[in-house]
């Protein structure tokens, strides 16, 4: 039997035929669309390396069947920058040296973008730490990650103010 799933990935519409319903969103992104920026860490929803946005909300792509998301808009790390212009969260991660090996970084950045979309943490470092607890970093770059998220939050809040 065959199934069809329609997804918009980083703005581009895709219609994909699947011969197996077991395909997770993570495997679809990496193996079928060759978007390998999204990482497979634990594959069990514990590490956050596979975090992507589905209709603007961060989720673990390893624990989601692709078929379940028919019609959804997905944003991955590859879809954040506008050409050569990095997303403010990407800029902040570089500025604050918020990584060492980099494996968890796409998930950290997507999670941070999701956190800022949610608007619950504001400029409170404790709320940022709590909101980012679903992303593990084995190099323990947490101090830089929290600084980067707070910096990006300030940048985006400033942009919003200027636009208003």
């Amino acid at each position: 039997m065959n199934w069809t799933v329609r997804l918009t990935v980083n703005g581009e519409p895709h219609t994909l035929a699947l011969d197996d319903p077991r395909v997770t969103l993570l495997d679809l992104l990496r193996e079928r669309l060759h978007l390998s920026g999204t990482k497979k860490g634990c594959d069990r929803g514990q590490c956050g390396a596979c975090t992507v946005l589905v209709d603007g909300r961060r989720i673990n792509s390893c624990l989601t069947l692709a078929l379940s998301l028919d019609g959804a808009a997905i944003t991955t790390i590859e879809g954040l920058a506008q050409g050569d212009q990095l997303h403010p969260v990407q800029e902040a991660f570089i500025a604050h040296d918020a990584l060492q090996c980099g494996f968890c970084t796409p998930g950290q950045i997507m999670s941070a973008v999701g956190l800022l979309n949610e608007g619950q943490a504001g400029d409170d470092p404790e709320r940022v730490r709590e909101g980012m607890s679903g992303n593990l970093c084995r190099c323990s770059a947490y101090v830089g990650i929290v600084e980067a998220v707070l910096d990006a939050q300030a940048t985006l809040a400033g942009e919003k103010e200027r636009a208003a």
């Binding site: 929803g45 909300r57 961060r58 673990n60 999701g114």
Partner: protein, 352 residues
């Protein structure tokens, strides 16, 4: 993961019809089910994906004032619904103390109620587990069992229910709406899960093919909104299951407790409502000694099931702390670390 058939019905009636086949399982967001399937702990032959059933995604206030939460409402959406969080703050706090932000964005209300135990022996298919393989034994009894049950356990099973959400739901008399092929029925949340006895594989009262369609909180539960807390002790302060947790709600008039609600998490195979403690609290003054007596009453039947004797005094302390925090008053803003007993001042930085 085993191969399975996949169907995505558009209505509750179609879903129930599709789930009538033997070996079928409902799939909501899958944050627990897919994890179990990846470990071959659960091997459904057919997944009935209910995520497209729009009628299950609503939060509504009924004419009688009850709040009805559709089974597919996401945990984060419920916790951040301003009116819900104002009226049922301990429920919102419990939701936000569970899992991670990513998981809360996906996980559903119905799925939370039906999540399986996190007992490591249940997850490890090489271990004996009466819940996973009835009659095979229980490797937890002589294994790593420091997190296991201290109330309501049996020789067959000492696993705990991992839900945070269910604890205040049990305390505040939530009702679960269930639909089956021939009927619709309601069950008190407190009666949804079963203690293990000699049949730990039977975890709840749902029959095969039945679907949770909604959870209702009674209008009267709003009466506790000014004095309601959920506190949770875990091995780290975020993104961990409860070692012990407590939901407490009080109605206080002139320093005297008119009504009390208390339930515990992490201690049993079900959210543990402490009716005796509630009865003791009613009519008393909101003072530490009274809370201590209530905690003793709540834990009278508690006994260790392994290396977990510490959980009994821990639960006692946490009950006292939760009742004191509830008496002090619901914080005006959700604490930065929801449910953490280490936040000295509600909403403030605990390490500042």
């Amino acid at each position: 993961m085993n191969r399975f058939d996949y169907v995505k019905p558009a209505t509750v009636a179609e879903a129930i019809a599709a789930a009538g086949a033997p070996g079928a399982a409902y799939l909501a967001s899958g944050t627990n089910l897919l994890d179990l399937m990846k470990g071959n702990v659960v091997r459904p032959e057919r997944l009935v994906d209910i995520t497209q059933i729009k009628e299950l995604t609503r939060i509504e206030t009924l004419d009688n004032g009850d709040v009805r939460i559709g089974a597919l409402v996401r945990n984060a959406d419920l916790a951040y619904d301003a009116s819900f969080a104002r009226d049922f703050p301990a429920v919102a706090e419990a939701l936000l103390s569970g899992a991670s932000a990513q998981l809360r964005n996906a996980a559903t209300v119905g799925g939370n109620l039906l999540q399986r135990t996190r007992c490591a022996y249940f997850y490890d298919t090489a271990s004996a587990c009466n819940k996973r393989a009835p009659g095979s034994g229980c490797d937890a009894r002589d294994g790593e069992n420091s997190q296991h049950a201290v109330l309501g356990w049996s020789d067959a099973c000492i696993a705990t229910n991992p839900s945070d959400f269910c604890v205040p739901l049990a305390a505040f008399d939530a009702v679960v709406e269930i639909e089956g092929s021939s009927s619709r029925r309601e069950v008190a949340l407190e009666a949804l899960h079963l203690l293990p006895g000699s049949t730990p594989e039977r975890e709840g009262v749902l029959n095969p093919g039945e679907l949770i369609v909604a959870v209702r909180l009674p209008a009267a539960a709003r009466g506790f909104a000014r004095h309601a807390r959920y506190l949770k002790v875990r091995e780290r302060n975020s993104y961990a299951f409860a070692v012990v947790s407590a939901a407490a709600g009080l109605v206080i008039e002139n320093g005297s407790i008119k009504q009390a609600r208390l339930a515990l998490g992490g201690v049993a195979a079900k959210p543990w409502r402490a009716h005796d403690a509630e009865a003791l609290l009613a009519g008393q003054s909101a003072e530490p000694e009274v809370f201590e007596h209530a905690a003793d009453a709540a834990l009278r039947e508690a006994k260790p099931s392994g290396d977990n004797a510490y959980k009994i005094p821990l639960a006692r302390q946490l009950i006292v702390r939760a009742l004191a925090a509830a008496a002090q008053g619901t914080p005006s803003r959700m604490p930065a670390l929801p449910a953490s007993p280490f936040s000295a001042v509600p909403g403030a930085l605990h390490d500042a």
